[in-house]
Structure formats: structure tokens, C-alpha cells
């Protein structure tokens, strides 16, 4: 649902500008709330009017064309397929050069599709942000890239949970791991701590470990920090 939300972001401000003064005030106080109201209004209209739906589809298509797979070869800049889906002639000359980084953000890559990525033995950086079909089973396949992978981003993948993150311990060369905004992870703070323990040489970006902990006014006693955390 990431892409439709993006198109909403384009259209919602148009509607909000036309709202009355009180609504405008409420937007200043609670921007999230009015965005939500804007979204439900848009949804309501889309359900009832075909032309609103057509406008949304058109904007969605434009957004989707922007989100495309990018590859970076060794010592070169990022290369991306152009609008027709074809790459430049330079691409063919690069067949022997190993692929160093792949940006597959937003791609609908699934378990079988990963075969293509896992064949890249010199891959150093992989970005799988917002991939809707990446789940725990797919993470279980990433051990093939253990020798070379240094940077991995799994941010905002809706199906990845802490059980899949346990398979990342094979990737001992990993130096940067991004596990922020994973909605299926039950306890992001605790998961972050456990993943950091599992991958000692890696910098893990994600939830702040203190998120979810309530620190009271007197509660900074040293023995509370020293004792083991009961399950």
C-alpha cells in the first residue's frame, strides 16, 4: 500500500487547501489527524465518482514510474532503466563487471525472484525497502550473500518480523543494517537490542531501544539497570 499512499500525499494537500478555517487550525495542531481526515474524504469520493478514481490512478502511475530498480556497478554511478524499461547500450559492455549494489526499493520481488539477486556473488549493498512480498522465508535465503554483503536495508517491509531477522546472523560482514519501521515486528526496541547482540560488528539502525520504555521520575537507580531483565 506504499505507492497509493504516495499518490494520496500528492492529492490530499489540494483538498485541504479548500477547507474552512476551523479545519485549517486543526491541521496546525494535529497534522496527522487532518491528513487522515483528508484521506478518508478522498476515499469516500473515490468510491463514488469515477473521475476522482481516474485522477488517482493517473497520479499513481506517475509515481510508480519513478520507483524503479537501480543498479550500481563497480567504480561507476547508479544506472537505472529508462522509461521504456530498456537500458542504455553501455549496459551490454558491463556484462563482466560485477554488480556492487542493488536498489530494489518498492519492487514486488518475491521468494523465487531472489534467485536473481543471490547469484550476484560480489554484492556489497542491497536495499529492499518497502518491498511488499519480502517475508521471513525470503530472509532465510540471504545467507548466500554472506561473504560480500556489507550494507542491507529492510526498512518498511510489511511482512518481515523478528523471526526472519534471526537469519541475518549469517551475514557476518554486514556493517550497516537498517531495520526501521517494520510493522510486523512485535517489540522493536527489544528486537533492536537482540539484533545488535547477534551482529556485534554491525551498525544497526532502527527503532530507538528506549522506545516503549517508560522512565519514571525516580527510576534511574543503577541496580535496576544491572539486574537481568526478566522475560
Amino acid at each position: 500500500m506504499a505507492a497509493p499512499r504516495a499518490s494520496l500525499r500528492l492529492v490530499a494537500p489540494v483538498w485541504n487547501r479548500g477547507t474552512s478555517g476551523i479545519r485549517g487550525l486543526s491541521k496546525a495542531v494535529d497534522p496527522e489527524g487532518s491528513q487522515r481526515k483528508g484521506r478518508t474524504l478522498l476515499q469516500f469520493l473515490t468510491d463514488r465518482f469515477y473521475d476522482v478514481e481516474a485522477v488517482r490512478e493517473y497520479l499513481l502511475q506517475k509515481q510508480v514510474l519513478k520507483v524503479q530498480k537501480k543498479n550500481r556497478f563497480r567504480d561507476r554511478e547508479w544506472m537505472r532503466a529508462n522509461e521504456q524499461g530498456l537500458s542504455s547500450l553501455e549496459f551490454r559492455k558491463l556484462q563482466e563487471v560485477p554488480v556492487e549494489a542493488v536498489d530494489a526499493s518498492g519492487c514486488a520481488i518475491n521468494y523465487q525472484g531472489l534467485d536473481n539477486l543471490l547469484a550476484l556473488k560480489e554484492l556489497q549493498s542491497l536495499s529492499l525497502r518497502r518491498c511488499p512480498h519480502m517475508d521471513d522465508w525470503c530472509l532465510g535465503r540471504l545467507y548466500h550473500l554472506a561473504d560480500s554483503l556489507q550494507e542491507l536495508s529492510l526498512a518498511s517491509c510489511p511482512r518481515i518480523s523478528e523471526r526472519g531477522l534471526a537469519c541475518l546472523h549469517h551475514l557476518q560482514n554486514l556493517r550497516r543494517l537498517d531495520i526501521s519501521d517494520l510493522p510486523a515486528v512485535s517489540n522493536p526496541g527489544l528486537t533492536q537490542i537482540l539484533v545488535e547482540e547477534m551482529l556485534p560488528h554491525c551498525e544497526v539502525l532502527g527503532a530507538d531501544w528506549a522506545q516503549g520504555l517508560k522512565v519514571g521520575p525516580e527510576e534511574q537507580s543503577p541496580d535496576a539497570a544491572g539486574s537481568p531483565i526478566p522475560a
Binding site: 521468494y111 521471513d136 522465508w137 530472509l139 532465510g140 535465503r141 545467507y143 518480523s161 523478528e162 523471526r163 526472519g164 531477522l165 534471526a166 537469519c167 546472523h169 549469517h170 512485535s186 517489540n187 527489544l190 528486537t191 537482540l194 539484533v195 547482540e197 547477534m198 537481568p228 531483565i229 526478566p230 522475560a231
Partner: protein, 485 residues
């Protein structure tokens, strides 16, 4: 199509026994019919026993093409594949009879929930590989319109089996076979093991095999509920009741070598309702014995094993319930998130549970079997047998605190610890799908398909499970599984 299913076994009997001669009770039995009709009329008239306004909605139907005894994961899997592989939608009526709808003693839900491909028989590896693929795509297989997708809570952490000096050569051979079948398993030396999992004590370990993909553990209750939901949407009927009797007919035949055998065919299954004497005779064409730990009793009811010992008729189904414990403990300094399900050479195993440093584990008893009459937990067993072995393997487990425990049954095959599938040679319309001795859950989707293929086509199509047929108990051909936990 059902006739084809009935004609499936080529046993040691004369073929060319067409379907026409195959009726149990003769149809020319006029006297019997007339007396039956007379009795019926007597009960209809006033003063008789028949009441037209009697509510029978809680009873199972009066006839059903297939009756599956046992509503655990194996029974439901057979029902699923039957409905999926039937040639025409709605062609086969299936009834699943389950004694306890709360599944309080069912092996499925009390299981630790692991799935692995590290077995010693190629058939087991293939079964497990297909089941992993089924579980991975479970929302395509078990999708029901308007219902939320299933979340199996699968942990892809793998299994780590450790072997001592004696077992190292066997483990190497097994791993070679598993890799040939397509499982992703790697061998590790003690040094590599120490480097990868620093919390293990590698003393006494000569070799370890580690499953890299398609191995781990999941939530069996979710699988069961998913199957139930899908089956209800496919039109399978469920009934809560206990099978107390089979009405069958026999015919005497002569084998090619001149030996006399008695072929039995089950006509009716008597399903008794809970807490009452009321029962419903269900006419059926095929009975599937998927009763798990109680399959032996069901087989005896059907007449399997009643005969002189040493003959096919006298060969019982060697499946009996064995009680196994599972303990849940907490250990604050225990292995981290990367821990697989570790199995010690001594038979003790453990795995992580959740995020909070809790662990599940146990050991199969080697000397004395606990009494399978009840599901009471023996905590002394943990103190004496399980804890010392685990603490020796993982030193962090020296300080732990047991939180809870439960017990469940293995449908233990005393012959060779592997499943029994396929029809019985003599009770010709009873099919088995039982006896998996602790690895039934992880093979259930594939076994269900194999049994359904056997019922519909007459032979195994995708995975050849001929080593698991019933005949091996009589012929003495063991299909021994060495890697059981």
C-alpha cells in the same frame, strides 16, 4: 472413480475378481430385506420408536463417501488433498470424525512445531521439502474468500544436529543424501561450530549438520485452524464423536499360491456421540485411519491383527501412544536470537521461544517409557535427564528456571519409527496415515497428498512412499529412521 479407488491394491490375490462378485451382503437376500422392511413399518406406526420430529442436526450424515477417523493435522491434510484433487468439484463427500473438538490431547497442538529435512531416508527428506513449500505458500493453498491471511509465525532458524565420534560417519552419509534430494544442509567441524555459536561447548562433538533453509519451527495450532477453515469452505463435514464400531463384510479368497485369505470391507462406521449412548451408523466407501496415538485401537476395531500370529491377518498395526514431555524455561544469559533448534547426540534438544530468553526443550527417554495413561508432567525427569545434558552442551543453561511444562503423545511406530501410509492389504478400504513418531506435523501436507493420490489414482504420483506401506510389517522390511528426536 470410487470403483477405481476400491480396485487399487494388487495384493497376493487372484486378479480378475471383478466388481460384480464383490458385494459383501448378497442382494438376493429377500428374507432379510422383508424383515427389515417389516421392522421399519412397525416403528413408524403409533406406538413405535420412530418420532418424525426428532432433531438429528448434531449427528453426522447417514452416508459419506470417505470417513476420516481423527481430526488432527494428518486427517485434515488428507481431507484437503482429496477435495483438491477430486476430478469434479463436489464429487467426493468427506466426513471428518474427531473425538475431542478442543484438541486437548491431540499430538498436533502439543507439538514443538519443528520442521527439518535432516532425516536418514530420502522419502522423509522429500516429504519435508514439499511440506516446507506448502507452508511457505500457505496463503495460496488455504485461501478462503473474505478471511484474513494465516500467519504461521515461522522461525527460519534451522536445526543443528550434533554428532559424536560414532555417529559422524552416518551423519556425513545422511547429509550427502539430503543434499542430493535438494535440502540445504551444511556440515560443520567443531572449530567452525565454536566460531559460529560461541555459547556451545563442543566437547564430544565430532561433526555437526546445520540446516540453512526451509528448516525451523512454526505454530501448529495456526496450521490446524487454517486447514479447518479451508475444509469447511470446501464442503467437508465435521463431526464430534467417537468411532466405536465398524460393520464390515468378509469374503474368502485364495491367493496365487493356494493360501486362504479373508478380505474384509468396511460398510458402516458407528459414530458415538459425546456423553450419550446415541450413535449414528455412517455408510461409507473408504475409511482413513488418521487417529494418531490411538490408531492402533481403531485398527483393532476394524479387525487388523485378529488372526494367527505370523500371518498377514495376524499382523497388528504397531502404533502405540508414547508420552513425551516438553519443558519451558527461562535463562537470562542463554543463546541469542541466532540459536537454531539444537539437538545433542544424547537426545536432548532445545530451541528459543519468543524474544525474552525463554527456551523450550526436552529429551526422549531412552531407558524407561513414562506411562501413557495420562498427560501428567514429571519434573524429576527434567532434573535428572534433561538438564544435565543441556547444561553440559550449553554452559549458560546451568542457571535456569523452569516456567512450565506439558506432555503430549507421539504416535510411535514401534517397528521402525516411520509413518504408515496406504491401504491395508486385507481390510481393503481402510487407509492409514499415521505412525509418524514425532515428525508427523512437519510431513503432514505431503503425506496428505500421497494418501489422496493413492485413494484417487491407485498409486503414488508425486512422492513414492512404497517403503511406508503396511505390508512391510508382515514382510519384515524395516524402513528405519535413525534421526528422530
Amino acid at each position: 472413480m470410487l470403483r477405481r479407488a476400491l480396485r487399487l491394491r494388487l495384493g497376493p490375490c487372484l486378479s480378475g475378481r471383478g466388481l460384480g462378485t464383490y458385494r459383501g451382503g448378497s442382494t438376493l437376500d429377500w428374507d432379510g430385506k422383508v424383515s427389515k422392511i417389516k421392522k421399519k413399518f412397525q416403528s413408524i406406526f403409533p406406538g413405535g420408536a420412530w418420532s418424525p420430529l426428532y432433531d438429528t442436526s448434531h449427528l453426522p450424515p447417514e452416508r459419506s463417501d470417505v470417513v476420516i477417523v481423527g481430526g488432527g493435522v494428518l486427517g485434515l491434510s488428507v481431507a484437503y488433498w482429496l477435495k483438491r484433487l477430486e476430478k469434479q468439484q463436489g464429487a467426493i463427500q468427506v466426513l471428518v470424525v474427531e473425538r475431542d473438538h478442543t484438541y486437548a490431547r491431540a499430538s498436533t497442538v502439543l507439538s514443538v512445531g519443528g520442521i527439518r529435512q535432516q532425516f536418514s531416508l530420502p522419502e522423509n527428506v522429500q516429504l519435508s521439502l514439499f511440506s516446507a513449500e506448502f507452508l511457505r505458500n500457505i496463503n495460496e493453498y488455504l485461501a478462503v474468500v473474505d478471511d484474513p491471511p494465516l500467519d504461521l509465525q515461522f522461525n527460519p532458524s534451522g536445526y543443528l544436529l550434533l554428532a559424536s565420534e560414532e555417529g559422524a560417519a552416518i551423519m556425513e552419509r545422511n547429509v550427502k543424501m539430503q543434499r542430493q534430494e535438494g535440502a540445504k544442509v551444511c556440515l560443520m567441524s567443531p572449530e567452525q561450530l565454536q566460531k559460529k555459536f560461541p555459547w556451545i561447548n563442543t566437547e564430544g562433538v565430532a561433526l555437526a549438520s546445520y540446516g540453512l533453509e526451509n528448516e525451523g519451527w512454526f505454530d501448529p495450532w495456526c496450521l490446524l485452524q487454517g486447514l479447518r477453515r479451508k475444509l469447511q469452505s470446501m464442503g467437508v463435514l465435521f463431526c464430534q464423536g467417537e468411532v466405536t464400531r465398524f460393520i464390515s463384510s468378509s469374503s474368502h479368497m485364495e491367493t496365487a499360491s493356494g493360501e486362504q485369505v479373508t478380505l474384509k470391507r468396511i460398510h458402516e462406521v458407528h459414530v458415538k456421540m459425546d456423553h450419550s449412548q446415541e450413535f449414528q451408523p455412517v455408510e461409507c466407501a473408504i475409511v482413513v485411519n488418521a487417529a494418531g496415538a490411538w490408531s492402533g485401537q481403531i485398527a483393532e476395531l476394524a479387525g487388523v491383527g485378529t488372526g494367527p500370529p505370523g500371518t498377514m491377518q495376524g499382523t497388528k498395526l504397531p502404533v502405540e501412544p508414547r508420552k513425551r514431555y516438553v519443558y519451558l524455561w527461562h535463562c537470562p544469559q542463554g543463546p541469542g536470537l541466532e540459536a537454531p533448534l539444537v539437538a545433542d547426540p544424547s537426545g536432548a534438544y532445545f530451541r528459543r521461544e519468543g524474544l525474552g530468553n525463554s527456551y523450550l526443550g526436552s529429551c526422549s527417554p531412552t531407558e524407561e517409557e513414562p506411562d501413557p495413561g495420562n498427560l501428567e508432567v514429571d519434573y524429576d525427569f527434567f532434573q535428572e535427564k534433561v538438564w544435565p545434558r543441556l547444561a553440559q552442551r550449553v554452559p549458560a543453561f546451568e542457571t535456569l528456571k523452569v516456567r512450565s511444562a506439558w506432555a503430549g503423545y507421539y504416535d510411535y511406530n514401534t517397528f521402525d519409527q516411520n509413518g504408515v501410509v496406504g491401504p491395508h492389504p486385507l481390510v481393503i478400504n481402510m487407509y492409514f496415515a499415521t505412525g509418524f513418531s514425532g515428525h508427523g506435523l512437519q510431513q503432514a501436507p505431503a503425506v496428505g497428498r500421497a494418501v489422496a493420490e493413492m485413494m484417487l489414482e491407485g498409486h503414488f504420483q508425486t512422492i513414492n512412499l512404497s517403503p511406508f506401506l503396511f505390508g512391510r510389517f508382515y514382510f519384515g522390511e524395516k524402513a528405519q529412521e535413525h534421526c528422530i528426536l
